[in-house]
Structure formats: structure tokens, C-alpha cells
Amino acid sequence: MLQIARRFFGRFRVNLIVGPLCKFIEVVFDVLTPLVVAAMIDEGVTHRDLSAVLYYGGMLGVFALVGIAFALVCQKMASRASQGIGTDIRTALYHHINEFSYAELDRFGTPSLITRITNDVNQVQLAVALAIRQLIRWPFLAVGSMIAALLINVQLGLIFLISTPIIAAVFWWVMSRSVPFFREVQARLDRIGLLTREGLSGVRVIRAFSREAHERKRFRKAADDQAAVAIAVGKLSAVLNPVTFLVMNLAVCAILWQGGQLVSVGSLSQGEVMAFVNYMTQTLLSIVYVANLVVVFTKASASAWRINEVFDCTPSIIDTGNTKVELPNAANAVAEEAANLKAALAAETAGGVSALAAEDAADPVGSAPAIRLRDVSFTYPGASAPALDAVDLSLMPGQTLGVIGGTGSGKSTLVNLIPRLYDASEGAVELFGTDVRSWPLAQLRHEVAVVPQTASLVSGTIRSNLCWRWPDASDEELWRALEVAQAADVVRALEQGLDAPVEAGGKNFSGGQRQRLTIARALVGEPSVLILDDSASALDFKTDAALRRALRELSAARAAEGGLPFTTVIVSQRVSSVREASLICVMRRGRVVGLGTHAELVRSCTIYQEICTSQGEEVPGAEERLRAQGGMGPAAVQPGEVVPGNAESAPGATSAPEAPASSVLPTEEVTDRA
């Protein structure tokens, strides 16, 4: 809370001082009221003086008016300061979150960030308002009443000094014991929610296995548990009101008895006894409020702590590049590449895949590679093993890189380094010859377009979603992107076309449609590098193939116009998606275990052969071998091993059919996360 206060309270200094001050004045008048009534009785009634009664009555009225005047000023100050501070915190927090790189986002997780920027800020806001409005009022009223009572008569005031701490202690006792219980009740309630959700999401499995009775029993137990804890906490809370009521009224009894003695000897008046009784009531009321405030502030300080945690986290990726990077002169550097592409396209239309290798054979010289990874390693924060281990590769403009491997092999991590979503732990990532850390972030991310694994859109229209990278794209450009992304039909089928509404997350589109729209989104604004991070997985094979073809055509067309053809990175688990790539990078446990064209890898890389075989792709020689082994995973190939030469002579080809545990891919995932 202190840190938040230091940072955000300054602007509202006036409100924060004037507000409580006004509240204090109001309280002073409240404390004086019983004294005025006492005077009314003692001077008015005892002396049968009607004018004194009216005089003091008038005074009460004036007190009330002054009180509300000050109270209104205080409330205004409180609402201004608290809402203002809340607004400032939200803006600062949102800005800060936007500075975060993936590493920080991973650390907090987005749901947690959402809670912090909404609920937690609201909690702090509420606490500020209550601090101004009530934190002053109730403690001062309690203390003021006690002081006033002591001023009237010290001996009688002692009853206050005894009973008030007792009441406060009862409150402390009950609340300190019940608040943790409340959490427990909430936790049990959450469990009931969890079981209900499980019962709904798993309804098919539960019914298929006829385990309904078991689920009923689990739920019943959870409900019993919840009721038991709730009853226990209720038992505790039920003590609070009766005990404080009892203590207070016994104190009143004592005041009356003791007061009688004092009045009898003339050291106290009847009106003053009444004032004492009234002060007692006021004190109790104040303690009740103070106790409630404690709860609010406990919650708010937890919220403030969570907000601070975000502020204290400095983004690991800082936009250090301040000079715009010149892209290579497209016209001459790429002319050769364009020619290659055309040749490749022509060859492909003719039906030959092998011709594509020609594209690679003519290695374009004289220009910087579009993407160059120099011995790049990357370890996720807190992970023991690196997610990427000494990856080294280079890709020329206009080429296509295919990245293939099992889940958790580091494919996505690799491509996330290109637009600097993470920074490499070791080594360097270069884009068109310039280290990505020297690129201005905005320009870098404009040049590199990413189609993420999960296809999601934001609420708005098709147009507003497509214009994410480039706000002023024309309709023509949008349609072109849609055509390439195989999404034009989807949009054409919509009545409002480009202006058709998109619901949050793009829920009103199917997975495949969403996927194609996100591809189109990445294509708008002419990126130089396109990264498809396993984004074709929701597409059927036909559409996937058509997409890749359209991308090649687009690139060729752009090169033919003298522009920079775009470089594509395709991450996939499917061999069919990457087989035509200029360069295929086979990943396993964060290492590159094979690098080359399909034709090369199919001959030389055991892992690649296995992947091919498992997908029914033709692998010369390998299939028979696999069949012979009863279809089981053959290889005890060590990671990082690129098997040279003929597959038949590869080590491990003759090893036992049962794959050793370590070669089962899911294991990698566990170690990745560890």
C-alpha cells in the first residue's frame, strides 16, 4: 500500500488532506452532541428553563447543519481522490503490462493480470474512499467519546477504559479466528464449483463408465464439507453480537449504579449520567465499524501487494533500437531468388517435388540472410534445461523454412525469438543482417508477421481485426490478404462482408475459419517475414496445400514487381506442410537434429524418417524396416545426432523394438517445464 501511496497519491494531495480534515470536524460535533443534551437536561429541565432547552436544541440543529456541510465536502474529496487514484493506477498498470515481453506474461499469466487490473485496482480504490470517509470517523468517534467521558468524570470514565478494551478484544478474537475460516468456506465453495464443472465437462466419460454413483458421492461429500465449515464459522460469528451487547449493557448498569453514587454526593449531574450512557452506545457502534474497516483494509493491502508485484517487474525486453533499419535493396539482391521461385513454381505445377531442391541449390549470394540464428540458446526462466540449445541456421530472403518436431521440442520457442518476443539467452538472432535487439521493436514487429498457434480474434468487425498490423489498409489489400489466406470465401459468405461483426475471441467463427482469418490478418500490411506457428493445424490438408501455394505465388508476384519476396517460416507437425520448404529444421528437445531439404533429410535424418513414416510418407527403405519391427518406435537415437548417409546404416536401426522410455516424446515436455 505504501508504495502505491507514494506513487499515486501525490496528485490528489489536496483532496487527501482536506477530506479527512472535514471528516474530523464533523466528528468533533458528533462527540459534542451528548454534552449538549446533558446541558439541556441540567440547565433546562432541572431549572425549568424553557429558553435554555430551546437554546440547546437550536445548538443541536446548528451542529447537524455544520456536520453535514463538512461531511459533503469530505465525500466529494473522497470520491475524487479515490476514483482519480484508481484511474491513474489502471492507466499506469495497463501501460506497464503492454511493455511486458512474453517472459513476464508467462510469469504472471494473463488471467492473473486481468484480475489485478480490474478487481485489485477496485479494491484499492474502495479502500482509499473508505479511508477518507470512515477511517477518520469511527476511531475518532470512539476515542473522542472516551475522552469526553473522562473529561466529565474520571472515576466514571474508568468504566469506559475497562469495557472498551473488552469489546475490542472480543472483536479481535472472533474476527481473527473467523477470517481464515471465511477463506476456507470460499475454498470449499470453489471445490463445489470445480466438481460441478468436472461433472459437466466429463459427462460423456462419467456416463460411458457408469460412474454416476461415484460422482454423486464425491459431490455429496464436498457439499457436506462445505456445510460443516460454514456452520463452524457461523458458530463463531454468532458469538460476536450477543457478547458485545452484553458487555456494553453491563457497563451501562455499572455507569448507572456508579453514576447514582456520584450524583448523590454532588460530583455529577443527572444529564451527565445520560451523556455517559449515550457515549457508551456511540463507542460500541464505532468499534463495530472499525472492525469492518479492518477487513476491507486487509483485503486492499493484499490487492495493493499484487498490483505492486506487477509494477516491480521490469520488462526484460527493452526497445533499444532507435534507428530505423534499412531493408536490403530488393531489386537486385532478390532478382535471382525470384527467378528461382518462378522456376520452382513451374516445376511444382508440373508435378515434380524434387525440382524444388533446385531452389536451394542456387544459394543466393551477396545479400544478408533474412533470418540468421547464430548459436542461439534459450532457457525459460526457472527451467533447468534449455528450451533451445545452440541453434544455428540461416535463411535467405524469399526462402521458406519448415520447422518440424514433436510437442515440446522447441519449435515455437525458436520462432518466437525472431520477432523478439523473447530474447535469446545466448547467441544472436539477426534479421536482414541486423541483430533483432538493434531493431526498433515497432518496426521489427511490423516486418515480421506472426500467425500464432491458437487462432483468436478480438471483438469488432472483420475489418478491425484485419487492420491490426496496418490501420489504413484499403479494401483491396484486405481482400488480397483474404484470398491468399483462403479466407475470402468465409468473408464473402457473410452478409456484411468486411464489416461483419466478430464476437469476443472470434467465437462466431469455426476453428478453421478463425485460423484462416488470423493468417489474413498477418498478411495485411506487407510483412517481409511471415511466421506460421503450427497455424495450419485446424485446416484440412486441401486448404493447407492451397494456402502454401498461394503464399508462394504471392511471394513470387511481389518479387516480380521488384519488391522483397517474403520469407516464410512454417512450424508444423505435418511433413506435408513442410516438405517443399527450402530448408527443413528438425527439432528434438531443443536441438536441431536435422537441417536440409526434404530429399536430403529423408535420406539422412533418422528422426525425420520416423516422422515421415508415422505420417504415411514415402521413405526409401525405412518403411520396410519399421514394418519389420512391428510398427514400434525404432530409434534409440541420441538427440542432436544427425545421421549421415543411408538410413539403413543408421545406428539404432537394429535396436530393440521397444522404444526406451527416454525416446518417448512426452518426456521431453516434462523436462522442458521442470
Binding site: 456445510a227 448507572l256 523436462t671
Partner: protein
């Protein structure tokens, strides 16, 4: 500092009384479907049906109401006794100690009894309400368990969960506790009135006439602030939606360098929120000082009038103690009114919740097994699907005239575009849904004539949507056979190629899987579900995209285990990957709810139809 991550949500109920504007309204009424459509239950019906849940605790119910009445009346008697005591203390040398002593003792006894009864009341109502809502909750949950799948598929799960969790909680707070508060509130109002009249009729009339001013003030302020609250809520909702959407996809925002534009939008909403929030908060914060002001004025008026009565004896004689009594009453009298109004809102919310719960409890359940349903014993796995038509909604037929005859041990592969009805067929086989026309027979018996339990026991099923529950890995694997030994579980995991990663877990097979499957990858979750089926010994196997999230190398290994499992068993496999289904005895190519081609892989390739086209597309 307490653990800042701990949930403190429930404390809100304690603090809401002073939070003023913490407006967490009731949940928006239910989603679409049959739950919203039914007739609105009358309040009397709602109360009658709730009474059913209170009846088992009738003793607690009676005790809590009797003690509530006793406690309230005794508490109200206190100001009168204090007044009488003060009348004993007139001045120097003029104190009636005998009477004062008696009154003090009496007062001590009264407050003790009041405190004890208040405690008993709190204890009883607490016990009663939590037990009653537990029963209600169990009923609601079990009701969901008896609903047909069409219902569960058609209703947003969040809505159903909210009914079981939040609505039931609302009923506990509102209807059970609320009713007691309403009762004590009314007793307080009536009791105060009676006591005041017993002391002084004219003064009582004055108090009764002026107190509504305070209530009026509170009402006016509430009315004023409600509108601005609604505006604030709306903008807060927009802001929340923005955050939910953009922070929820912060990685995407990062990758597209969209941050500045998102911030612009956010700041626009945020400054709107400031204006609305400041206004709403100010207006609502007027309520306390406003009513306090009116109360202070009333206090002054009662004081002055009381003193006038004491001095002049007009319009009615009064003692100084009487003035004190009235000052107390005047101070307290508005409180029960405020409480009653807030309780009434709470009760209204609770009524809405109760209606939602009863709508759920009244929904039509899945038809029970036919009375003459037979137990399927030792199924052979002969599945005959005969002229089956099916649709989820009548306007859109999903399956049309499906005929398949699977003899024991045959392997069928279902192929076709998304939404062509492959998964639906599986729903029908397990009787999650019933066919609209035609019939499905297992070993020659219509499946509607079989008990669901024995029918479903004949099947082993792995779905694309993996389901793990909160429990250990071993419990999850043994879900279909709770009596399995650890050795059997491990063997099943080994066959599913899940053993190695399970062993790598911190507690191996005893690792507790958290909410939503915890940290397992989709592929690992699928392997666990496969192990679950490996452990059972079904006659028929249904695999619906069972290996879609497993990388192809592991899939190949799992497939080998499946081959073993499927040997001699009838199986139906839905898959996108043609390689996984090439081995099938019969491939069923589906489109638009019909089987358009059937045959082995080689036959269909030779025929050059839709399947061949699809197959070629893979290698295009």
C-alpha cells in the same frame, strides 16, 4: 501480511454493509434453452418448495423464531429500564438507591437473557440454513446428473455451475437468513412502537411522524445514485471486457505491436469510467451523512420536545428518564426500516435464484431405462446401425439413413469433413442421444432395450476432448475400473506409452492432477485417457480423434498398442489423419450426414471418389 493470493471473496459479505457502493448484483438470468422458458413460479410456490428443505430441521426453525422474538423484545426493553434508572438519579442527595439497585440488577438479567437468546437464534438459523442449502445443492447437482446429454450440451456450463454454486448461496443468504432478519426487523418496529406508546403517546406519535424523513432521504439518495451506478457498471463492464480481451491475448498484442493502440482505447474507457465512477461514488456516499443529518435533527426535536414535556407537563407528562428512553428509540427507530428494505432486496434476489434452481429441478430428465430392459451379458460386439436418422434440432437433419453392420472384430474408420456427423454417430452408439428413426442393435438387441449401464460397459471410448478430474494420476487411469490394482494401472499406462512421463512426475502415479488437468500437455492428457481405456476390457472400441494431440511418432507407438487392444474387438475410429485409418476393414466416408462411400482403403482409392480426393489432398 497475509498471503495475498488467498481468496478473500467471502469476507465481502461481512463488509458489504459499509462498503456502500460495492455493487455485485445477482447473476444475469439464465441462458437460452428450456430453463428460461418455463412458467414463472409464484412466490407462494417458491416458499412452499423451499419449506420442503426446511422441514427436516423444523425444530431449529421454531427455536430460532421464538428466540428471535424474545431477544428482540428484551433488547427493546433496555432503554425503558435505563430511563427508569435515570429517574432514580435526580440530584445531589436525591438518589433512590433501593430502586436504582433493583433496576440495575433487573437490567443485568434482561441483557443476559437477551444475549443468550440472540446467540441461540444465530446458532440455529446458521445450522438450519447451511444444512438446507446443502440438501438443495446436492439435489441440484444430482439433477444435472440425471439430465439427458442434449440438455447438458445445449446449456452453457457456466450457467449451470452458477446455479449450483451462486444461486444456492443466494438462497441461503436471502431466503433463510433474510427471512429471519425480516422477522426481527418487523418485531423491532412493532415492539418499539408499543414500548414508546407505553411511555408517552404524544412523543411516540412525534417519533413515528418524523422518522420517515430519514427513510425518505435514504430512498431519494438511492434513487439518485442508482442511475449513475448503472452507468458506472456499464462502463466498468466495457473496460472489463477490453481488459479481458486484450490482456487475455497480450501475447498477440505484443507480437503485432498493437500495444499503443490498445492503450489508447483503454485510456478512453478509463477516463469515461472516472467521470461516471466519481459521480456514482459521490452520490451514493451521500446516503450516510444525509440520513445522519436527518437523524441529528430528529434527535434535537425529540430532545427539545421531551424536555418541554418534562417542564410543562404538556402535552403529556414525561420524566427525564423518559427523555433518555425516547432519545434511544429515536436513534434506533430508523435502523429496522433500513434493514427491512435491504432485506427485501436481498429476498427478491433470492427469489430469482430460487426460481432458477427450481427451473433446473423441474427440467425433464433423461428417460429411465425401459422397465423390461435387459442386462447385456458378455457382448460379442456385433453392431447393427439400421436406417438411422438423427438431428439435434429438427430443422437441421444431421444423420440420414445410416446403415452399418459391424460384425464382431471389424474395424471401421469414419472419415469426412468437420460437422459431417462422425462424432454424432458415437453419441448414438452409447445412447447419449437416442435416434429419431431407425434403430441401433447390439448383438441383435435394440440398444433401447438394454440397461444403459450394461450397454456402456460394452464400449471403451477415447474422445478428442480429454477429461481428467481432480485426483491422482492412478485414480484417473482407474476411472473405468476403480478396483484395478496398481500393477494393472501401471501396465495400462505402459501400453499407452504414458508410463515414462508419469514416472518423471514428482509423485509418480500418486501425483495429484489439479484443476483442468493441471500442467499436462494436451498430448499427455490424451495418453492418460488412452491408458484409462486400456485398463478396461471393452467389447467395442470408439476412438474419436483419440490421438489428435499426440505427435506422430508417439502416435505410431500408441497406435500399435491400440492395434493390440482392437484385435478381436469391434472398433470405430474417427480421425483426420488418414494414416491412422488406412488399416481399417471398412472406411466410411461421410458427408452431410450420409455415408457416401464405403470400402477398404485400396478399394476407395481405386474407385477415385471423394476419399481418393481427400487422400490425394494430403500429399498435394
Amino acid at each position: 501480511m497475509p498471503n495475498p493470493y488467498a481468496s478473500t471473496g467471502s469476507v465481502a459479505t461481512v463488509t458489504s454493509s459499509i462498503a456502500g457502493g460495492s455493487s455485485s448484483g445477482p447473476n444475469a438470468p439464465g441462458g437460452p434453452g428450456s430453463l428460461a422458458g418455463g412458467p414463472v413460479l409464484s412466490p407462494a410456490t417458491v416458499v412452499r418448495r423451499l419449506a420442503r428443505y426446511v422441514r427436516p430441521h423444523a425444530g431449529l426453525f421454531v427455536v430460532s423464531f421464538v428466540t428471535a422474538a424474545v431477544s428482540v423484545i428484551l433488547q427493546l426493553y433496555v432503554p425503558i429500564q435505563v430511563g427508569q434508572a435515570i429517574d432514580c438519579i435526580i440530584g445531589t442527595g436525591n438518589v433512590d438507591f433501593a430502586r436504582l439497585g433493583a433496576i440495575a440488577v433487573q437490567l443485568a438479567v434482561v441483557v443476559t437473557i437477551a444475549a443468550v437468546t440472540q446467540w441461540v437464534q444465530g446458532y440455529c438459523i446458521n445450522r438450519l440454513s447451511f444444512r438446507a442449502i446443502r440438501d438443495l445443492r446436492v439435489d441440484a447437482s444430482e439433477k444435472i446428473g440425471r439430465m439427458p446429454l442434449s440438455f447438458i450440451d445445449a446449456h452453457p456450463h457456466g450457467d449451470l455451475i452458477s446455479r449450483v454454486v451462486n444461486d444456492v448461496e443466494q438462497i441461503g443468504d436471502g431466503l433463510l437468513q433474510g427471512f429471519t432478519n425480516l422477522f426481527t426487523g418487523v418485531v423491532t418496529i412493532v415492539g418499539t412502537l408499543v414500548f414508546m406508546l407505553s411511555v408517552s403517546v404524544p412523543m411516540a406519535i412525534v417519533v413515528v411522524l418524523v422518522t420517515p424523513l430519514s427513510i425518505l432521504a435514504a430512498w431519494l439518495i438511492a434513487k439518485l445514485s442508482n442511475r449513475s451506478f448503472a452507468t458506472q457498471q456499464r462502463i466498468q463492464g466495457n473496460l472489463g471486457a477490453h481488459v479481458e480481451e486484450y490482456v487475455g491475448q497480450q501475447k498477440l498484442v505484443d507480437a503485432f505491436a498493437f500495444g499503443p493502440r490498445a492503450e489508447e482505447r483503454f485510456e478512453g474507457l478509463n477516463s469515461e469510467l472516472y467521470v461516471a465512477g466519481e459521480r456514482a461514488q459521490f452520490l451514493s456516499s451521500l446516503s450516510n451523512p444525509g440520513t445522519r443529518f436527518i437523524n441529528n435533527i430528529i434527535y434535537a426535536v425529540v430532545g427539545v420536545l421531551g424536555c418541554v414535556c418534562v417542564i410543562t407537563g404538556w402535552p403529556a407528562p414525561l420524566t427525564v428518564g423518559g427523555v433518555q428512553t425516547f432519545l434511544s428509540y429515536a436513534n434506533q427507530y430508523t435502523k429496522p426500516f433500513n434493514e427491512v428494505t435491504s432485506v427485501i432486496t436481498q429476498i427478491q434476489i433470492a427469489f430469482a435464484s430460487a426460481r432458477r434452481i427450481f427451473a433446473l429441478l423441474d427440467a425433464t430428465e433423461e428417460a429411465p431405462d425401459a422397465p423390461d430392459a435387459v442386462e447385456l451379458v458378455d457382448p460379442r460386439g456385433d453392431v447393427a446401425i439400421e436406417h438411422v436418422d438423427f438431428s439435434y434440432v429438427p430443422e437441421r437433419p444431421l444423420l440420414r439413413d445410416i446403415c452399418v453392420h459391424a460384425r464382431p472384430g471389424m474395424r471401421f474408420a469414419l472419415v469426412g469433413p468437420t460437422g459431417c456427423g462422425k462424432t454424432t454417430l458415437i453419441n448414438l452408439l452409447l445412447r447419449f442421444y437416442d435416434v429419431n428413426a431407425g434403430r441401433i442393435a447390439l448383438d441383435g438387441v435394440d440398444i433401447r432395450q438394454l440397461t444403459r449401464r450394461s450397454l456402456r460397459a460394452a464400449f471403451g471410448m477415447v474422445l478428442q476432448d480429454t477429461w481428467l478430474f481432480e485426483g491422482t494420476v492412478a485414480e484417473n487411469i482407474a476411472y473405468g475400473r476403480p478396483d484395478a490394482t496398481r500393477e494393472e494401472i501401471v501396465a495400462a499406462a505402459e501400453r499407452a506409452h504414458a508410463d515414462s512421463f508419469i514416472r518423471a512426475l514428482p509423485a509418480g502415479y500418486d501425483t495429484v492432477i489439479g484443476e483442468d488437468g493441471g500442467t499436462f500437455s494436451q498430448g499427455q492428457r490424451q495418453l492418460l485417457c488412452i491408458a484409462r481405456v486400456m485398463l478396461t476390457d471393452p467389447a467395442i472400441l470408439l476412438l474419436d480423434e483419440a490421438t489428435s494431440s499426440i505427435d506422430t511418432r508417439t502416435e505410431l507407438q500408441v497406435q500399435a498398442a491400440f492395434d493390440q487392444l482392437m484385435a478381436g474387438r469391434t472398433s470405430f475410429v474417427v480421425a483426420h489423419r488418414l494414416s491412422t485409418i488406412r488399416e481399417a476393414d471398412c472406411i466410411l466416408m461421410m458427408r452431410d450426414g450420409r455415408i457416401i462411400e464405403r470400402g477398404t482403403h485400396d478399394e476407395l482409392i481405386a474407385a477415385g471418389g471423394a476419399y481418393a480426393e481427400l487422400y490425394r489432398a494430403q500429399f498435394a
